[in-house]
Symmetry: D3
Subunit: 227 residues, 6 copies
């Protein structure tokens, strides 16, 4: 598992923010609080948590085209930001949040594998800090955050299950997986995909075991950053 660092309060304007570093992967996460919800939630009493994901053009080895310039977000970007939003909502009681929207922006400053997992783990910290502000201000009574949400990647690399792949390992892994879990170890999302050849139930279970230990370390880092 690569070294984790979570620095909070890194931008002046956001209601919550952190810069999470998982090895060479650095993601800036900000939470924006708005006193409005999307149309489909009006007058339901429920809040909304959503996420957007981006990469600076030179976060990667070779420069990638800026999505704003190409005029659309790639399928990969959309897939990732849908995942982040879904994952974070699994740890929120939207009725306790009330009719408010919190948008988590995850912008990758430097990429070295596992950017979607770092975005979820760091995004939760930004969310936690924004909600803390709401509670401190007396705007909400009971804490809508029900548990930690963190994510880690695993893979089958050179025939063996490995945790928290960097870019090189990820490129060569035969299977690539992401586990999103709560602080109490329940599953929120599992994605495992054979990049080359299919994988066995045993290999899946090995990855699962590694993920559990990784998530525990990430949740500890989240606690340190937000306490």
């Amino acid at each position: 598992m690569r070294e984790i660092s979570i620095e909070t309060g890194v931008t002046r304007h956001a209601e919550g923010s952190c810069l999470i570093r998982c090895g060479g992967t650095h993601v800036l996460c900000t939470a924006t609080l708005e006193e409005r919800v999307p149309p489909f939630l009006k007058n339901t009493g429920l809040g909304w948590v959503t996420a957007e994901y981006g990469m600076l053009p030179r976060a990667t080895h070779t420069r990638m085209r800026r999505e704003a310039a190409s005029g659309k977000q790639s399928g990969r970007t959309q897939e990732i930001q849908r995942l982040i939003g879904r994952a974070l909502r699994a740890g929120v009681d939207r009725s306790a949040l009330g009719e408010r929207q919190i948008t988590i922006d995850c912008d990758v400053i430097q990429a070295d594998g596992g950017t979607r997992c770092a975005s979820i783990t760091g995004g939760w910290v930004a969310l936690r800090l924004a909600v803390n502000k709401l509670i401190k201000a007396g705007d909400i009574v009971s804490d809508p955050i029900t548990d930690h949400i963190a994510a880690v990647s695993c893979g089958i690399y050179a025939g063996q299950a490995v945790l928290d792949l960097d870019y090189l390992e990820d490129s060569e892994a035969g299977t690539d997986s992401n586990f999103v879990m709560t602080g109490s170890g329940a599953l929120v999302e599992v994605q495992a995909s054979a990049e080359g050849s299919a994988f066995s139930r045993g290999q899946f279970d090995e990855m699962y075991g590694l993920a559990e230990s990784g998530i525990a370390a990430l949740v500890k880092a989240q606690k340190a950053a937000t306490s």
Copy 2:
């Protein structure tokens, strides 16, 4: 498990085609063979299998806006078609295919839950038929298809693991998962997502067991359709 039917040869022009019906979900799958590959594969000797997914506007209970009219494919559409392509490639030896591209189009005529799984299962049949043509014509020597690929959805519905959810069950399921497997039972892709509350390892394992039996039935139907 809902009734499965796979009717082949349903359109005149495609190199392979079928109409797959899983209960009320009907998907038209066609395979298009082209003697060219995407730029990144030129002069590598490797072929490519890719997929596109669409829904007729009135495949659903209420009419959905036509994506061609709105000017872009939704994040959901892109996520699904990336999944279909990735899944089918896991059952293909791209070197044996040679520098050819096969595009699988999956168009949902009528939707009642599980459209991405039906697309994978039916898409494999269209792919199989197109490759058969190549073999019969003597254009390739060794069969590039290494195994069956099929997919089925599971969920936690009313506290219990269920197989092959229809639309109503899917809407109310607390957890939603898709399993893609080979004919020999190896895993190709696992996606499990908590729609409401997180799920346990035990629940995941239950879904896994159901999926294995479902896949077996689907592979049997694929064999009947292509033999």
Copy 3:
């Protein structure tokens, strides 16, 4: 004239639907009823009938790029769907329909010439069935459909006027025309276009005569399908 078949009730969700086959051209037509009208008709007491047209990517000899993927509908698609909507509205008393919108989706499953004509003829059947439902439910009192609407193509092929061109004939025809008429033989839309050389008044009249007989056969098939 190629063989016509109209199968109704082919999809579960639409208020009206049919699969029309004119020789090798197969079009799925669905009618969607909505209790709202476009902004420019609000509070006018008038209803609206509109149409959208699409082709499955492999409806044709070689695969065409999916319009949802290319990000816009071609000029040809827009021209055709504007024609279908205009043609069907010519057979509807929009005041008797009341402030409702009916959207006719015409999706070409397999193409062999004359897809826009088949869409109009089949679209009318879907419209008729949806309106029948409204009448049966007592939602409207007097029938807003004033007459049948059907369409057929003609051309000058090898110097001679021919009816209902298939793809090959159409590609080689020197003049291409579409006639839309009512059940009582009045003209709704005429489009005739010199593909190669200009045509004479006499040739136009010959096509007109053929079209009249073709329309009569199509209206008969519509009657059989909806009675």
Copy 4:
């Protein structure tokens, strides 16, 4: 029939240009000659004539949104520019033109009905002038222009066939038609459309007769402008 005026040589850069005025409808037509053809014509020895159509935002009674700002050309614009190109090609021997492309831009400065017809009639003049330049320069030997092409609108207004409708008449006409003919009176394109109620064969014939006389007047004006 409204007064026609065709002023040539109105812009400095175009290979051919004119400002055509049909009553209150003013269209600036320019011809651009390029020594290249679209990909599908390379090495065929054939040339190409194509057209684009636009309206200045305040050519109309109320300002229309600029298509460049809305990010796409409307279906109407595309339909019209396809018609103009098709019509002009009917009067060109593309083999005599050789592998060159001539683009006719028709920009409506002021609109009062019949803009597509004025574009065709004026577009032909711009085309004629550009081809004259080619001939004078000795770049082509035999004249590729085989005949005049002109267009006029007709309608059924207040129960009676009328020629060359202005905006007010057009808005209230029950049937709207456009006739494109050659200088020798052959038909190039006929479009007739019931705006309200269907029309009879007799009414169509009346419009046809009026169109013939209108085209004769337009061709005379073209001759005056280009001789």
Copy 5:
């Protein structure tokens, strides 16, 4: 300085219009008056003046792609239309205008350098005429136009400051500048840009001096056109 001509009342529908010719640069400017303001000005009592800029495809030596066809306005177009709007607003008391919007459309018919400056100078005339109409109709009491606004370009060409560059001079100038001033000689906007090598304070001052004389001539032409 090239010859200036400003012809007013050139289109029938606009509330104000002119065709301004600065040498070979011809721009059609129209003013559209609407009794509404953009959302951010609702209930502020303030009006708005905005501008759009376009070039006919063959206004230039070689044909430029139509922006409506390419699906977006270029950065250059957006920069110019933002400048025109900002410049004209500097001469308007938006409170005296009241909650109305005036849109100035500047469409370049023929380009020979200085199109943005001609657009500002001609745009002011169209604005003046539209406001005159409002005053005559008694819709506003006190004149919202506080001063003339005109613009002229300068450059360092062959080492020397020159006024009102045409296209050839502009292409070869080492520095290119635009000065927007009021009728009383105050500065509204200054843009000076080194195209090749940096320029000195002295060179800037020389251009400034030339611009003052050019603006005086333009304001005189505006007065002649609107009195």
Copy 6:
């Protein structure tokens, strides 16, 4: 003048990078070197320097919509990135650079006024570092960078010329200007714009004087960061 800090080497992959902080405005600048040039420079022996500009959605007080999500770069973004590229090219001998392209990405992490000026000043540092690498590697012989390029904003705030406006000052300034200069004090670009009322020659000169002192301080900081 606000405090300036320039931290170099902040991202692992870029050929040159810095994080520039001008008070509360923080911009990450990276330089990407590619051994290719845009088509219009092929075989000319000349290199190219270009720039792209972006803002993280929550760099500002209230969240701005992500340009990648809205599908296009705003006019403001395009205007700024064109300015940055033009400014940096004024300090580069493109013939000495050879047929290479350097892309400067300027991404605003936190905004508090003057982001385009900080982007130019920081962008030059990233460019300097990337070119240093080329020289060290022996890929180019003579230094293509001819001088420092730096930029600072000025304004007329409360009737008085002020240097380096922050967001609040900028919002309330009557005139807003940006000066881009070389290290030797020559002018590269001047943009001054009346936001409310026009400004006098004397006020412009006052801003100019302030800018000269500001640029000197920025160039000193550039030297410290790159020596």
